[in-house]
Symmetry: C2
Subunit: 199 residues, 2 copies
């Protein structure tokens, strides 16, 4: 079965291909579709659902009937009232100019200075549109703590600051295979795969 | 596993108990919780998600941590631009006074007079909140046609007018067991059960 990913990001494609091994994952550009979407929703659900249904309609208009997958993820830090949350990718941006991953992590640590509560979690909301008006949506959680300085070189985004007590490692210190077993995105993907009856 | 149904309707309870056989389905009142929710969303998803998360929060406030299930369903008729849709239960209501099932079916037939396109479908959006910020949402579809006069005495709502060509019967002519295999609600429940790894 083909699944078109509502993204133009080759990095995300690679991660999704690893999670959905038995499916043929395509990007919109593979089908000659120009796709873009502005993530302005107030929740991960709004953004992920908006991305998926927008691409599904674009494909239908082009005469292509295929399943579409989208996700939106965010880091929620308790001491910051859930920040950066749904705005995780744009956290600390000024004048619409995004920070680099490294700058964004520095910005987060700055905001957390002096705060002893370091509890945080990642959420991933993943949407699979299977047909007109038919969809599966799963939101999953991955709990951890924000440490004081980055550790590890794997992953991306907030991974070097996100410490998993049970493993005594940050996500950036985990081999990709291990991250793909326990991350918020992996957990959401697993539930969708079970729902599709293809574990 | 206990699941609390976001509904006060004993009829819906009975149907959900039939679909989720291996689970212990409770009503909010079984836990001493007073629950009500006004379905004012523009989509089935908004209503079903609103119902489920509202009850989940009420339960948490009462110190109860249990999974919550909610659904919203509607009949969508092609020749009426998708009416009655998300307003299916209140279709034809005046001054907030709902019609009876029989009156509502007569109202629908009135609106369809002279229209030869009788294609229609039921949609069910079902939401299971499994924990804080963790949920599964499934929307499924059941296609058929609206016939000219009611047939059968089973089911409820639009069932006597909803004809399933493959079975040469209306939904109201189906035994409850058979309806519980093919209805929009049954299809959504099946996907959720698979996602929970408990087929």
């Amino acid at each position: 079965m083909d699944i078109v990913l509502a993204s133009n990001n080759r990095g995300k494609l690679r991660e999704i291909v690893g999670l959905f091994e038995k499916y043929n994952i395509l990007l919109p550009s593979d089908l000659g579709i120009e796709y873009s979407y502005e993530e302005v929703g107030n929740t991960l659900l709004e953004n992920a659902f908006g991305k998926a249904t927008h691409l599904y309609r674009l494909l239908l208009e082009a005469g292509v009937e295929k399943a579409v997958l989208a996700d939106d993820s965010g880091l929620f830090v308790e001491a910051l009232g859930g920040e950066p949350g749904v705005r995780s990718a744009r956290y600390g941006a000024t004048d619409g100019k995004k920070l680099s991953d490294r700058e964004r992590n520095e910005y987060l640590l700055e905001r957390l200075k002096g705060k002893s509560n370091r509890k945080a979690y990642f959420l991933c909301c993943m949407v699979l549109v299977r047909g007109e008006d038919r969809f599966i949506i799963v939101q999953e959680k991955f709990e951890g703590k924000i440490i004081d300085s980055p550790r590890g070189s794997g992953g991306f985004g907030y991974d070097p600051l996100f410490y998993v007590p049970e493993l005594n490692k940050t996500v950036a210190e985990l081999p990709e295979e291990e991250k793909n077993k326990i991350s918020h995105r992996a957990r959401a993907a697993k539930v969708i795969l079970r729902a599709l009856n293809a574990p």
